[in-house]
């Protein structure tokens, strides 16, 4: 399949601050997740591929044409920014129709398309309320509506799930996935791995302005599985539990935490570890109150990958 988005040695600096460095990649239709910790360069990358900022070095092409200053390509792209970007005094309806007019649609066309987009995000009933009265979830959905209203071929969503409650997240994920089978190119950025995992298996890992890895999400999952994990267990008898853990070869380290009745265990096989806990708990009559993974996040994976 031909790539829709291509970048060649794309680099961007903000004064002395590196935004993105030497990014060369190709993105095909379907959902692609951009994954990276906060400040990794995700937003910069998305702004470069949507033609909002000019690269210092390199090029970015959409369907074989360079995006920078090529305004005819902008109609192919729907962009949902990370931060709230609204005109609070306007109603949801005015917001979406107004932005559609900037895509050169006539008033009647803009109204038809706005209605369709608001129906998709389930905001039709609230369309005449001013945006400042919208909840966080409604505002996110409205941002999504303005991105899809002109029926773009490429949809770029910068942290679309930020600040949403679980129900709101589910709604947005469902919306994004509904576009999956239509042949569009969708790019979603996030710093939370499970969010991306819920939408796509194809990911790009960005860290400190560089593309760290690109490919199937299982690759990242495998990295998480194989690198040592720290798991914290709060239980009724941590010393008894620890004496049993040290007999297992997948347990690398056991420490007693400063917190009361808490054990910190380092393992290189989470699956085996998690299957062992219930068995031990029953056999030794240990009451397990809480199990947490303090390092089970994307930053920990990145730290591991960069060898910190």
């Amino acid at each position: 399949m031909n790539p829709v988005i291509e970048t060649q040695h794309l680099s961007k600096w903000y004064g002395n601050v590196l935004g993105l460095s030497d990014v060369t990649l190709e993105i095909e239709p379907g959902i692609t997740g951009i994954l990276g910790p906060n400040g990794a360069g995700k937003s910069t990358f998305l702004k470069l591929i949507t033609g909002q900022i000019k690269p210092n070095i390199g090029t970015c092409s959409i369907k074989g044409k360079k995006i920078w200053n090529n305004f005819s390509l902008f109609s192919l792209i729907g962009f949902c920014p990370e931060q709230d970007a609204f005109f609070d005094e306007l109603t949801g309806w005015q917001f979406v129709t107004g932005l559609l007019r900037l895509h050169h649609y006539s008033p009647s066309e803009a109204e038809t398309k706005a209605r369709k987009a608001l129906e998709i995000v389930e905001l039709v009933e609230d369309k005449d309320r001013v945006i400042k009265s919208y909840s966080r979830g409604m505002r996110q959905r409205l941002k999504f509506a303005q991105a899809i209203a002109h029926d773009p071929e490429i949809i770029v969503l910068d942290e679309p799930l930020n600040g949403l409650d679980p129900l709101g997240r589910r709604k947005i994920i469902r919306l994004i996935k509904s576009y999956k089978g239509e042949g569009r190119t969708i790019m979603v950025s996030s710093h939370v791995l499970p969010e991306i995992e819920a939408m796509t298996k194809r990911i790009i890992l960005i860290h400190q302005g560089k593309i760290f890895a690109q490919g199937d999400i299982h690759y990242i999952r495998d990295l998480i599985e194989t690198h040592p994990h720290i798991i914290s267990i709060k239980c009724s008898d941590p010393r008894l539990l620890a004496s049993n853990f040290i007999q297992e070869d997948f347990i690398l380290n056991v420490k007693f935490s400063s917190a009361e009745n808490t054990l910190l265990v380092e393992t290189n096989n989470r699956d085996k570890f998690f299957s062992l806990i219930p068995a031990l708990s029953v056999k030794k009559n240990i009451e397990v109150e809480e199990i947490t993974s303090p390092d089970d996040n994307l930053q920990a994976v990145f730290d591991y990958l960069v060898g910190k």
């Binding site: 399949m1 033609g51 909002q52 920014p81 931060q83 900037l102 029926d151 089978g181 042949g183």
Partner: protein
């Protein structure tokens, strides 16, 4: 990847530039200004001077009917370029224009900066030039209602009340002066308001700055003039500079004994500075520090 259903129709045609891509920005700007409670009160009042001057033109043609009102002050009602200059360049109209600019212009860019909405504009087929045009047109709309429209209406009504083209034949250049002055003063206030609006995310501060710099520049001129008795300090005053250039455009005696070109240069310099700042401030990315 399997495409189950192609949900969009890709258009391969030639992209045509819309004639006025900035118009939606202007339309919303005007709409939002009229939504302001105080502006609804202010706007009809801002047109009162124009109504009074229009009445003056009517009376000037019916002096016999109204002479009981005037007696010795008939010369005031001589309709000539000075009459137009008086309306367009006097302090009261400039003051009204500043207030109008505060209502319609203070939030134009500052609100976009506050709401992060620049990225919404610049991710669409909208050039930076169109963005500025759209914002400027909001100010132009309101200022032309105070300058260009009344100026041309005065001219037309004078001929209608007189029932002849004698006035036009006497001053054929006057409509051009009205247009030139209106364009100049509107362009200046547009740059001035957009420049200040791009400096802060809070439109209240912007409003205070717009008013404060205008009034402050006048106060500064007064202070320096009182100390040094040098007329060149009138170049410090925004009002003074506009009045200088206005008088020259209407072929009248300038209020200060210095060359009006200097005032024009000062106004132009402010516009150029404003343009550079605007270009720097308005861009589609937040700065990472």
């Amino acid at each position: 990847m399997t495409i189950k259903e192609k949900g969009y129709a890709h258009w391969d045609g030639e992209f045509l530039d819309k004639k006025l891509p900035w118009w939606p920005i202007t339309r919303y700007g005007i709409k939002l200004t009229f939504r302001k409670k105080f502006f609804k009160l202010f706007f009809p009042m801002s047109l009162l001077p124009a109504v009074v001057f229009l009445a003056g033109i009517y009376v000037s043609e019916r002096l016999e009917d109204f002479k009981f009102l005037f007696r010795d002050s008939v010369p005031i009602l001589q309709i000539d370029p000075a009459y137009f200059k008086t309306y367009l360049t006097e302090g009261f109209l400039l003051f009204i224009m500043v207030i109008a600019v505060i209502f319609c212009g203070s939030g134009l860019i500052s609100d976009d900066l506050k709401h992060n909405s620049l990225q919404l504009y610049f991710s669409r087929p909208l050039k930076k030039r169109d963005y500025f045009l759209g914002k400027t047109a909001v100010i132009v709309f309101f200022l032309f209602l105070l300058t260009l429209v009344p100026g041309l209406v005065f001219f037309i009504m004078k001929m209608i009340f007189a029932g002849s083209f004698k006035f036009f034949l006497s001053y054929p250049w006057l409509p051009l002066s009205v247009i030139a002055y209106s364009v100049l003063v509107t362009a200046f206030f547009s740059f001035y308001a957009l420049f200040i609006s791009s400096l802060n995310k809070n439109r209240r501060y912007v409003a205070i700055l717009i008013f404060g710099i205008y009034v402050g520049s006048d106060i500064l001129r007064e202070i320096f003039y009182d100390i040094f008795h040098n007329h060149y300090f009138s170049l410090l005053s925004i009002r003074g500079n506009i009045q200088q250039v206005g008088a020259a455009i209407f072929d009248q005696k300038t209020p200060y004994p210095i060359h009006w070109i200097l005032s024009l240069l000062v106004l132009t310099a402010i516009c150029v500075l404003a343009w550079f700042v605007l270009k720097k401030k308005v861009r589609g990315v937040e700065i990472v520090k």
